[in-house]
């Protein structure tokens, strides 16, 4: 981007901060996509039956016959001190690793109950690592609902990986955030064409291929919810390249340009390189735009992707924004995004779901982005919805996915129009 964002304008923007019932997932949910991304990792939640039930329900109930995640369910014996929780955990981990010799990295994932009873999973991970290295590295992070909202689970997981990254002084670009393989391949090809070849991705596809990091690492966030990971990378000496998120033509171009500028790539070469993909992207978006242009959009807080998505749908597809809710607003990482949002949009952080539902009704939106718990009740009163979890499960980043991303929003409207009794 040419001009630095107007930080004052961002600061002046009024934000509605709310506190109340939150209709969101906790950070454990991230396991559902993280375990597909890191293919030799296993996620062991140390928690309650509720945790196991949550992941099972969020995953759409048993999509994989033997998944690479499980829950070590704390029972009354652990709580009453009849059993040493650490011995119990060691035993279950031994059982698990014996069963799954293909596993190279094990995450002990903290939960609300494990946090409240102060089970020290960091020490447990150290102890278990000492036992199982070099075959299996054991790390820990918290996906508990008292500390993390939905996508913050991925942030906590990636932050746990950062201290494990090998050190390197080489000048490298690091792309941070779980992306679909197809998106990663496209970005890698574009960077290569631009002339940036030393590019790594975090998380890697295999836990044994951790990317290096050091004072000459510059990183781009591919997701808006990676505050803790960014801090951890800075502690390793890396610097963040400020950019909007690579969503839509505009976002993707600015994101790539941030790296190109840092690598002093010739602007003309940059424009030539991205031109074919940009054209394809624009053609795809033009086709969908008539369906979304002028339609009113309301976003409930869920994934923290709300602000980049609202910006994309507003600027590239002509949607009118009513309220843009986000569970947490990282003002620094979203500074570029915020300058691209219209001044009159209502930004809200946190949630009191009943009050927000009242505001939503008053705003008379054509399309509402919300979690799975709210979607059918809203459809039942005639409001088209897009479930936000799909935005994490579907590749939406980059030029060639911008059309797919727009389709996700157009389809509910098209469907309502197509059905005689909707």
């Amino acid at each position: 981007m040419s001009a630095a964002p107007d930080k004052l304008a961002v600061a002046r923007r009024e934000i509605l901060r709310e506190r109340g019932q939150r209709e969101v997932f906790c950070g454990l949910t991230g396991i559902v996509w993280l375990h597909r991304r890191i293919q030799d990792a296993f996620f062991l939640v140390v928690g309650s039956r509720t945790c196991a039930h949550l992941i099972q329900s969020a995953a759409g109930v048993m999509i994989f016959a033997e998944p690479r995640f499980a829950t070590a369910i704390i029972d009354e014996r652990d709580l009453a001190g009849l059993a040493d929780a650490n011995d119990e955990l060691d035993r279950e981990v031994d059982r698990l690793l014996a069963r799954r010799p293909d596993i190279r990295m094990l995450f002990l994932v903290g939960s609300c109950p494990s946090e409240v009873i102060k089970l020290d999973l960091a020490r447990a991970a150290e102890r278990l690592s000492a036992q199982h290295l070099p075959d299996v590295r054991v790390l820990n992070y918290s996906g508990s609902g008292i500390e993390t909202t939905f996508t913050e689970g991925e942030d906590a997981c990636l932050a746990a990986l950062v201290p494990e990254l090998p050190a390197s002084d080489e000048r490298r670009l690091l792309v941070v955030g779980a992306l679909a393989d197809v998106v990663e391949d496209q970005f890698r090809a574009l960077f290569t064409e631009l002339g940036i070849t030393a590019v790594d991705f975090l998380p890697p596809r295999r836990a044994v291929d951790l990317p290096p990091v050091g004072p000459n690492t510059q990183f781009l966030l591919a997701q808006p919810f990676l505050g803790t990971t960014a801090e951890a990378l800075k502690r390793r000496g890396a610097t963040r390249l400020a950019a909007p998120m690579p969503i839509g033509d505009e976002g993707t171009t600015a994101w790539l340009r941030a790296a190109a500028d840092a690598w002093a790539i010739d602007p003309a070469h940059f424009d030539r390189t991205v031109a074919p993909a940009r054209r394809r992207c624009q053609v795809a978006l033009e086709r969908i735009k008539p369906e979304l242009d002028g339609r009113r959009l309301f976003l409930f807080p869920d994934s923290q992707l709300e602000i980049p998505l609202a910006r994309f749908l507003n600027r590239e597809l002509g949607m009118t924004l009513t309220e843009v809710g986000t569970p947490y607003l990282h003002a620094e990482h979203l500074a570029e995004e915020l300058t691209w949002l219209p001044a009159d949009v209502c930004l809200s952080e946190g949630q009191d779901v009943d009050r927000q539902l009242d505001r939503m009704q008053a705003a008379e939106p054509d399309l509402v982005v919300c979690g799975l718990g709210l979607a059918n009740p809203l459809e039942a009163i005639g409001i088209a919805t897009k479930w936000s979890i799909e935005l994490l499960f579907t590749p939406i980043h980059g030029y060639d996915q911008a059309g797919d991303c727009a389709q996700l929003f157009a389809r509910p409207l098209r469907r309502r129009a197509a059905l005689e009794f909707a």
């Binding site: 140390v46 033997e66 279950e92 979690g371």
Partner: protein, 515 residues
């Protein structure tokens, strides 16, 4: 601590939610951290409910823990009452809130709301979903029907009453997210009407607090799902002298037993209109096309009531051989063990999916009657599965009327249990042309589309090999027992120090194990 991949039941507060969501005018304030709201999607996505469950979550966070989470709970109760104006409120804690010991019951009652507030304490680290549902329903019934209870247990003479007027009953147990509960209630209500019994209240499904208050007015109770309503029905029997039914109207024989039990309460014989032939199952099952069902080896697993009743129907009405029975409902383990003993098989009482998988692998049944979990196990092992019980899945809410109970329920059982199997003549042809190049046992049933059955793999190690003619001989054994024959032969060979398996070894092993 126990390693769990998949769970058959949620935590007990999910059971409480199922009861509350079933009812009208009741609101549940649940002391719970952020994230526990996932439970809403069970109702709005799986059951396709058009409204959010009537549940308020206090949503405490880590930063609240050092401060006043009790105040947060109190405020949530006050706000929920103001907004939703329920006739009754249920309060309780989820697993995490149980650890911080705020006493939701005491806090809520101290507020002095002008409605009954029913606290439910559900120990999340000991108990599970169905128990939570039963406990919540029991406490609601006690709190709301209790005030109308007579001082002493009344003596009821139903036979005498039935001479004067029609008897009435309550149907107890159907809940939200119950396996086909919605349709079972319709079917059983119709059957009761034929028996000239009025249904006073169905609860919890569709009932309001006012309905629970008049539960004692009915003459007796129909306990449709003992896992949920057994406790409440026992209490009603003690306080109001209402007898409760014990037969479950599942399968044709079960439905007849249930109808006879109800008729007997009124001192009558079973009306002539209620006969086995009201269902198509008996005729379909005895028609010659069903010959191939004879002795099919079936493994049954589910909640205790569905599993035990399905096992009986499988044996007595389908002519299957039940090779194993199991349940995840520990509370009813005794009933399942008793039935297993009657059937001469081992009962599997577990909530560990891996145990169930191991048992199925070992037994090699030809059909599984199980839950969605066993359906996945079956998919992996190439064994057909019909779903007979919760845990619930969006597929268990079909658009069509599909009860499991009563005469129509028996029709549904026939269709759904036979569907995963190879059709009669198709199976005979397979037996006849065993090695046909395009039509062989590695194929799935033709009506289930393309795909291969799982290969029954050899467990042989390097020291053990099969001679070609022995392998060929093995292929002549029907595929559904071939895996077992292969393993038995290999075990025999290993035990007897035979390195190379010949046709001889195969038949030696057959003789050895047939003893």
């Amino acid at each position: 601590m126990k390693l769990t991949l998949w769970t058959y039941e949620g935590p007990p507060h999910i059971g409480a939610m199922r009861v509350v969501t079933s009812m009208q005018d009741v609101h549940y304030v649940l002391h719970a951290p952020q994230g526990d709201t996932y439970a809403d999607l069970l109702f709005t996505m799986i059951q396709r409910d058009a409204a959010r469950p009537p549940v308020t979550y206090t949503t405490f966070q880590a930063r609240d823990l050092g401060k006043d989470t009790a105040a947060l709970f109190r405020q949530s109760v006050v706000d929920a009452y103001e907004r939703f104006r329920p006739a009754t409120m249920v309060v309780g804690a989820s697993c995490t809130a149980e650890l911080i010991q705020d006493d939701p019951g005491g806090l809520a009652q101290a507020i002095g709301l002008p409605i009954p507030v029913v606290p439910v304490e559900l120990p999340a680290y000991q108990r599970k979903e169905n128990w939570g549902a039963a406990e919540t329903f029991y406490h609601l019934v006690r709190a709301l029907a209790g005030p109308a209870a007579p001082a002493a247990r009344p003596e009821r003479d139903l036979v005498a009453t039935a001479r004067e007027r029609r008897l009435s009953c309550n149907i107890l147990g159907p809940t939200a997210l119950g396996f086909r509960h919605r349709d079972d209630v319709i079917e059983i209500t119709r059957l009761l009407a034929e028996l000239e019994i009025d249904v006073a209240v169905v609860a919890p499904l569709g009932a309001s607090p006012a309905d629970l208050a008049r539960l004692g007015d009915a003459d007796f109770n129909v306990v449709l799902y003992p896992e949920v309503s057994g406790t409440a029905a026992r209490w009603l029997s003690q306080r109001f002298g209402q007898p409760a039914t014990t037969e479950i109207p599942y399968g044709v024989a079960g439905t007849l037993r249930f109808a006879a039990e109800v008729a007997a309460l009124a001192g009558r014989e079973l009306p002539a209109t209620v006969t086995a032939m009201r269902s198509r199952l008996p005729w379909y099952s005895s028609s010659i096309d069903s010959n191939y069902l004879t002795g099919k080896r079936v493994f049954v697993f589910g909640d205790a009531v569905h599993a035990t009743n399905a096992a009986r129907v499988a044996r007595d009405e389908f002519g299957f051989e039940v090779v194993g029975i199991g349940t995840y409902t520990r509370e009813f383990a005794r009933d399942v063990r008793a039935l297993a003993a009657e059937f001469g098989v081992d009962a599997l009482i577990t909530d560990d999916y891996l145990d169930v998988e191991a048992r199925i692998t070992e037994l090699e049944p030809e059909l599984i009657l199980g839950t969605q979990m066993e359906r996945h196990i079956g998919k992996r092992l190439g064994i057909g599965c019909a779903v007979i019980s919760a845990p619930i899945h969006v597929q268990d809410f079909p658009a069509a009327y599909s009860p499991q109970m009563g005469f129509e329920g028996a029709n549904v059982l026939f269709d759904t249990w036979v569907h995963p199997l190879m059709m009669g003549l198709e199976e005979h042809l397979l037996g006849m042309f065993r090695d046909d190049f395009e039509f062989n046992e590695t194929r799935a049933p033709s009506h289930l589309g393309p795909g291969a059955r799982g290969q029954m793999t050899s467990t042989a190690d390097v020291e053990l090999s099969w001679q070609t003619d022995a392998e060929a001989e093995l292929r002549k054994i029907p595929f559904f027992v071939r895996g077992k024959a292969r393993r038995n032969t290999e075990r025999y060979a290993r035990d007897h120090g035979v390195a190379e398996i010949t046709v001889e070894t195969l038949y030696d092993a057959k003789a050895h194990y047939s003893r």
